[in-house]
Symmetry: C2
Subunit: 345 residues, 2 copies
């Protein structure tokens, strides 16, 4: 899924080139490219599908030249994750009704790619030939209030994979107090937004819990892989309600499972989390690209794209970002105000 | 005098375009242009001389198209103010041995131009036909440690201008404690670096107190206003020692006078003083050019030249400056470290 607009990272991320297309960690690859890299050895390239908008299709092609052009699916409008996933599921199912499917955001960070691959492979084994809906939970390292939580039922030894647990409930982003209570227990995990299932399982789940969305993509079955597909998707996709797959399916279905994983994950949803995962100097300063000098400064994060040199003197916990002639200087604790300034308010 | 390099204001001020050539106050005119404007009605344009380096001659021409090209004097190297002033004095004296002369830096700020003109006219009256060396003192408004001070002898009613006093001594930039003691008295003034004298007076003073410098410019008398002038200036000027007129003349000569003035002056020697004199919003934020939005910020100063938009969130007492692809973000209290980053270290 590569259709987001990344408004919280303005001006680094813009509506013309959002976060997933940017090398936000200064490692030489965009988050989208890193996401595809993580599936090397798990998924053949021809089985990788990128869901994005018309606007970003050329960026996807440019950044992922090895992906088949016909595997770049273009949503005519933004409808959150449920319609996006339904489109991919119905289309893949037409070709292979027994396909197993991993759904992943393209703007997250994973530190331990080897462990990620092990978890994904093990997860695919769990869902293959079963009707399990599996979500990756992340073992929490702090009472983060920026994530949703998954409550697992521990101690059920009947499951075929000893690392997998049945989900008791999904929890919204909590207050700090509640988050602290969650992590004091041992059965709460961060909701990563990464899902694994057999394509028939998710299609059935849509039929049961989101029949209007299911009707749209069912009606398009004759046209997938034909010259009429895009035209009809453009016509029918906007009919879908805008809803996340979490609300649409996960919180309603019964057979939901969680695989608690520990591969150093972040959704990079804030500058603070980006700062946390980026390479830093001894004073905690992260220069994500360009030539930056830090003097008497600590815990700053700098990402500039149109500048030659940046000098930061005497600043603490500060974000400096520049792109396309727009400059942001922001106290880290005030980053919630940034998206006011992005193009889409 | 327009030969300085303004290293304390990097990257706004650069070696290619120093402070005096920049609209640092965001008023639409450079400090050099504002300086010339202050002499309207006092000095005919053909009597305005600009001392600068070869490197900046074209910038001066561009910004001051009304100044005679032959009145732009080019120093072949930087030798501080004494040789610069001697060159101008000897050259002017050759044409008019009775000329009165005002020497002024071109990168200072004056708030009350009308009062400035009154003071200059009154000063010119005082030095005309006398051998007085007159300096403008500024009535101090705070115990500033960034300025030199002039101690005046009050109560001498023998002078022809009741606003003028004899100088007792010049004081180096003081500690805060000493500065406080100075302003507690009533006879200490900031040294503005603005001088008024008859051209014969200053030439004689150089002959007495700086005879090597005097010899250089005396030897060039046959060549001023000839085609050989620049070549010979280039040859001989570098022989002069680098010394300020304060050390070279003011602290040595006897007949030195001060005109205490009060026209809202600053040498704009620091970002803090620039911030102090610039137009500001209700929160004390100064956006000196470009489109800047301040959110939850106060007492910041922003000067960017190559950017479209600047957003400053949650910052206090912060300098944001950009020019030619260089960006500075600096806590105001750390501005002393800025010149480390200018091209001339």
């Amino acid at each position: 899924m590569a259709g987001g607009i990344g408004s919280r990272f303005w001006p680094m991320s813009t509506i013309d080139c959002p976060k997933q297309f940017i090398d936000v960690l200064g490692c030489g690859k965009s988050l989208l490219q890193l996401t595809v890299d993580r599936f090397v050895g798990i998924c053949p390239l021809e089985n990788i599908w990128v869901l994005t908008s018309e606007k970003y299709a050329s960026l996807v092609k440019e950044q992922l030249p090895m992906i088949l052009e016909e595997n770049i699916l273009k949503e005519p409008c933004r409808r959150n994750t449920a319609p996006c996933i339904a489109y991919a599921a119905w289309k893949i199912k037409k070709r292979d009704p027994n396909a197993n499917m991993v759904v992943t955001p393209s703007d997250h960070f994973v530190a331990d790619v080897q462990e990620f691959r092990r978890v994904i492979k093990s997860s695919l084994g769990f869902v293959a030939g079963s009707d399990a809906i599996l979500t990756l939970g992340i073992k929490p390292t702090r009472p983060d209030t920026g994530y949703g939580y998954i409550e697992a039922v521990l101690g059920d030894s009947s499951l075929s994979n000893k690392e997998v647990f049945r989900v008791d409930s999904f929890k919204e982003k909590p207050s700090l107090e509640i988050a602290e209570a969650y992590i004091a227990k041992n059965n709460f995990y961060w909701n990563s937004g990464i899902f694994i299932w057999n394509v028939s399982t998710i299609v059935n789940a849509f039929r049961i819990y989101q029949s209007p969305i299911a009707s749209v993509f069912e009606s398009l079955v004759p046209y997938y892989y034909t010259d009429d597909e895009q035209r009809l998707v453009n016509e029918r996709f906007p009919e879908c309600r805008s809803i996340s797959v979490d609300y649409a399916i996960m919180e309603r279905a019964d057979e939901i499972f969680v695989f608690p994983a520990d591969f150093g994950w972040s959704d990079l949803g804030t500058w603070m989390s980006l700062h946390c995962n980026a390479p830093k100097d001894v004073n905690g300063n992260a220069a994500l690209n360009g030539k930056t000098s830090f003097v008497e400064s600590k815990n700053c994060v700098v990402n500039t794209r149109g500048l030659k040199n940046v000098v930061v003197i005497g600043m603490d916990n500060c974000i400096v970002a520049e792109n396309g002639g727009n400059l942001l200087v922001c106290r880290m604790s005030d980053e919630g105000m940034i998206k006011e300034f992005s193009e889409e308010k």
